[in-house]
């Protein structure tokens, strides 16, 4: 079973040379720490920077330089700043190669719900709806089940949707899953996790073909 850093580490392997990547808040943010340093990757933050770097050294924080999580950041050589319309132009225009974000629920048809729980305080969708509506490669980083132990990989989302039929891959504490036409296709098991455990934690249709390898981090 993986912890949050493990999930991030596994997702980092999906980041390929030459990718522009948008990282959501939470586990996705951790992915940056695990990307191989022999490939060329640039991180986009939708508030208006391409070429986002690590947190600044203490004392060098700049109030005018933050990421979409409102954290102080740095800009790497080759970075650029732009306005919000241009930023979402990049996203809508499919120039960002990979979007990694968290979710409360994913359905077997690729629907995602990650912005609203009816009856609870709603904080808003931020840029998530734009990201999932346009990106061609969307990886969800999340725990396989919620705090109550219920599956987050469902036949149908019960929460209000963020986007329809858009998720391509899911990396959880238990498994790597590809969303295919027929449902959740199991690709890899987390270290020490059995197919049965994954099956039990998955409400939606899980497709298990042949031997499922344990993931290599």
């Amino acid at each position: 079973m993986l912890d949050k850093n493990g999930i991030a580490q596994r997702i980092a392997k999906e980041v390929k040379d030459g990718y522009y990547v948008n990282l959501g808040i939470g586990i996705p943010t951790l992915v940056a720490n695990f990307v191989r340093d022999d490939i060329e990757v640039e991180f986009q933050s939708e508030n208006g920077i391409l070429g986002m770097g690590p947190f600044p050294v203490e004392g060098e924080e700049d109030a005018d330089l933050i990421n979409a999580g409102k954290q102080t950041i740095t800009a790497l050589p080759g970075a650029s700043f732009f306005d919000s319309a241009t930023s979402f132009g990049m996203i809508r225009g499919k120039h960002v190669d990979l979007t990694i974000l968290g979710a409360m629920e994913v359905a077997e048809n690729g629907d995602i719900a990650n912005w609203k729980i009816p009856g609870k305080m709603v904080k808003g969708m931020g840029g998530a709806m734009d990201l999932v509506a346009s990106a061609e490669n969307i990886i969800v980083a999340m725990m396989h089940t919620n705090k109550a132990g219920d599956s987050k990989l469902l036949k149908k989302c019960s929460l209000p949707l963020t986007g329809v039929g858009c998720v391509t891959k899911i990396v959880t504490n238990l498994a790597v899953i590809e969303v295919v036409e027929e449902g959740f296709k199991l690709l890899e098991r987390a270290p020490g996790v059995s197919v049965e455990e994954i099956q039990k934690a998955t409400e939606g249709k899980l497709i298990v073909e042949g031997d499922i390898p344990e993931m290599i981090l």
Binding site: S45, E46, N47, G48, I49, P54, F55, P56, V57, E58, G59, E60, E61, D62, A63, D64, L65, I66, N67, A68, G69, K70, Q71, T72, I73, A75, F81, F82, D83, S84, A85, S87, F88, I91, R92, D111, M121, V122, K123, G124, M125, G126, G127, A128, M129, D130, A133, S134, P160, L161, T162, G163, V164, G165
Partner: protein, 233 residues
């Protein structure tokens, strides 16, 4: 050259009235029009509709207007980090319209550039598109979103000149350029106001034609919401 300078924030916001719709630049607390907000609080302008990506924090940014219950309606993409906001929203004192962030930017820019509406894929199939016209282009579904209308746009830039030309800094740019010229009157406050001719015409982010009034702001606090740092090596 057409001069856009006014002497102070009071002159800059002249004409604001209760019940108006304002656009306010900024992302979180980054690049917000601090002076204009403070003056709207000061003048106790009420029943405002705010088009702003966020709603500030409890004691800063739009939170200051919320504290005094001056805001009737918020149009935003993300409104967390604000307990008073939450209280007013749950008690239905405050009307809230949540819009995807890219749609928000596009609806401002559409108003700026005279596009009556745009088609965006964001929100299709979600409650955001409920009651809205949708349409297929080449096998993909889009939602028709109309341009915003506003009485004033309040923006904050880094440098500006007498002609109203603006240059933003870092990610404090965000929604500010999209809102310039998107309201009947655009008011820009800048950290540094210079005479016309001092800014390189090649480096202007927003030409002065999109700005009606510009003034030198004061006492910028530029608060940081999430101070994240790494240790020195």
């Amino acid at each position: 050259m057409i001069k856009k300078t006014v002497n102070n924030v009071q002159e800059a916001i002249e004409g604001v009235q209760d019940g108006m719709t304002f656009m306010l630049g900024g992302f979180g607390l980054c690049g917000i029009p601090e002076n204009a907000i403070a003056e709207l609080v000061q003048q106790n302008i009420r029943d405002i509709t705010c088009i702003s990506n966020n709603a500030g924090v409890d004691d800063f940014g739009l939170g200051l207007l919320l504290q005094k219950k001056q805001i009737k309606k918020m149009i935003s993409s993300y409104v967390g980090e604000n307990a008073e906001f939450e209280r007013q929203m749950l008690s239905e004192e405050l009307e809230v319209e949540l819009t995807p962030q890219g749609t928000l930017a596009a609806k401002c820019q559409a108003a700026q550039q005279g596009f009556p509406a745009i088609y965006t894929p964001a929100g299709y199939g979600t409650e955001v598109s409920m009651g809205k016209e949708t349409r297929e282009f080449e096998g993909k579904m889009y939602v028709l979103e109309e341009a915003y209308k506003a009485d004033f746009a309040f923006v904050k830039a880094w440098k500006g000149d007498e002609a109203g030309n603006l240059i933003f800094k870092g990610t404090a740019r965000n929604f500010n350029p999209c809102m310039c010229g998107a309201a009947k009157i655009t008011v820009a406050e800048v950290e540094e106001l210079v005479p016309a001719g001092e800014l390189d015409p090649n480096q202007i982010h927003i030409p002065g034609i999109f700005v009606q009034r510009i003034f030198q702001g004061k006492n910028y606090e530029k608060r940081i919401e999430q101070r994240t740092v790494k240790a020195k090596n």
